[in-house]
């Protein structure tokens, strides 16, 4: 399973590096959304600073939908999907590989957004380890849930519009918990931030396990 996961993740990342869809489409959309939020909120630094964690994770959330759609667009052709099914790859490995590739893209995206947020909103992370742990857990949750729902909608003609409808409500707890944890990291309130990690951790684990178990049957029916 792990060997297959590495193989699929390597393939997806190589394709992304070559096509540069994430670089030229997902990343600019995420940064642009941060800029637009800043315009909408006005120039008051205090307002921007208090809203920054929520806006940051909202941008990451929408980027997750785009990255997931792109991940399944790679396998959209009848030939490639069949090829993957007859290849002998463990479906759980496909799930882990695709989720890992999406997670890697989201991690890079967050680094860029972190810089943009510092520049635009004038905020600085006081408890770096808390922000990193929250990002790590939230990224796993977003990537695994996104990949699972991506597979669910992959075989449908209306997948582009259906995926956000399916996945955004499911990811709402991640948005809330990651925003609050980051808020704690920005203000230095460790105990408040830590309590939200207790939401992010189980969410990530639950979707990781569900994905490993259900991805095979989903691939069959998609």
């Amino acid at each position: 399973m792990w060997r297959d996961a590495l193989l699929v993740a390597g393939k997806d990342l190589r394709i992304e590096l070559r096509s540069r869809v994430a670089l030229w489409q997902v990343l600019p959309v995420a940064v642009l959304s941060l800029v637009l939020y800043a315009f909408a909120l006005g120039p008051v630094r205090q307002t921007l600073a208090s809203a920054a964690p929520g806006l940051f994770w909202l941008a990451v959330l929408f980027s997750t939908v785009l990255a997931t759609q792109r991940s399944f667009a790679i396998e959209a052709g009848e030939g490639t999907r069949d090829g993957l099914r007859v290849s002998g790859i463990d479906p759980a490995g496909v799930f882990l590989g695709k989720a890992a590739a999406v997670a890697a893209e989201l991690a890079v995206l967050q680094v860029v957004l972190w810089g943009a947020m510092t520049l635009l909103f004038g905020v600085h992370v006081r408890v770096v380890w808390l922000a990193l742990v929250a990002s790590f857990l939230a990224t796993i949750g977003l990537a695994t849930a996104g990949t699972l729902y991506g597979a669910l909608s992959a075989g449908l003609r209306v997948r582009e519009t259906l995926l956000p409808l399916l996945v955004l409500p499911v990811l709402a707890p991640v948005l809330l918990a990651a925003s609050r944890a980051w808020s704690g990291a920005l203000t230095g309130s460790v105990s408040s931030g830590l309590s939200w990690l207790r939401v992010l951790g189980p969410f990530a684990v639950v979707y990781l396990v569900i994905g490993i178990v259900l991805y095979g049957p989903l691939l069959e029916t998609a």
């Binding site: 394709i15 007859v86 290849s87």
Partner: protein
Amino acid sequence: MDPVVFLQGAVALTGRFPALSGVDLSVGPGEVVSVAGANGAGKTTLLRVCAGLVPVASGEAVVLGYDLRLDPAAVRRRVGLLGHAPSLYDELTATENVRFALRAAGHDTERVGPALARVGITGRLTKTVVGGLSAGQRRRVALSVLVARAPELWLLDEPHAGLDAGARTLLSELVTEAVRDGASVVFSSHESDVAAAMSDRLVTMSGGRVADVTAGGRRAKLSSVGEGGSHVA
């Protein structure tokens, strides 16, 4: 010897409608069977059923000794399928595509170069992204995956489509080599004369059923070459 493919009364559904409605088919080891028929006759579904990609709703279906209704995954690992659309990633090079297919199947990647060379993909073409190759070259790359994987059962859906004369000759040679190495081949074709010439048996489908089975010309053609020239069992 047990048949490589054994279908009896096999029914397969696409949505609620039967794409195969009671197919009986047996393919022996080392046999080449062609499947002809009009559009919608069930040729592609038959191949996808044999590959374990379309579930069998009822009837008996055993491929390479595995019951398709119980263990389709075991069948998938052992067959090679060349579909209408090649199973290739446009952004990867020819070499990367074949290497990925081999690693996915748990094979060594030593056979990547020889397999590509066998289908005429050499030099800079091996390092060209597949999206930049012509349709015929993409088809050759897809065929090289089968050559490298050397599956026990080759399933080819309209393999002649879009191929020039040279590639058609290559396809015939690859089928002959696969059979020589112990594989069986089932392929579909609209061109009944080509299908008959390349196969041991020609199965004609109509309305999701086998309408007719006739002898193909492959064995006759091979025996006419001379007793020592035939590699076919």
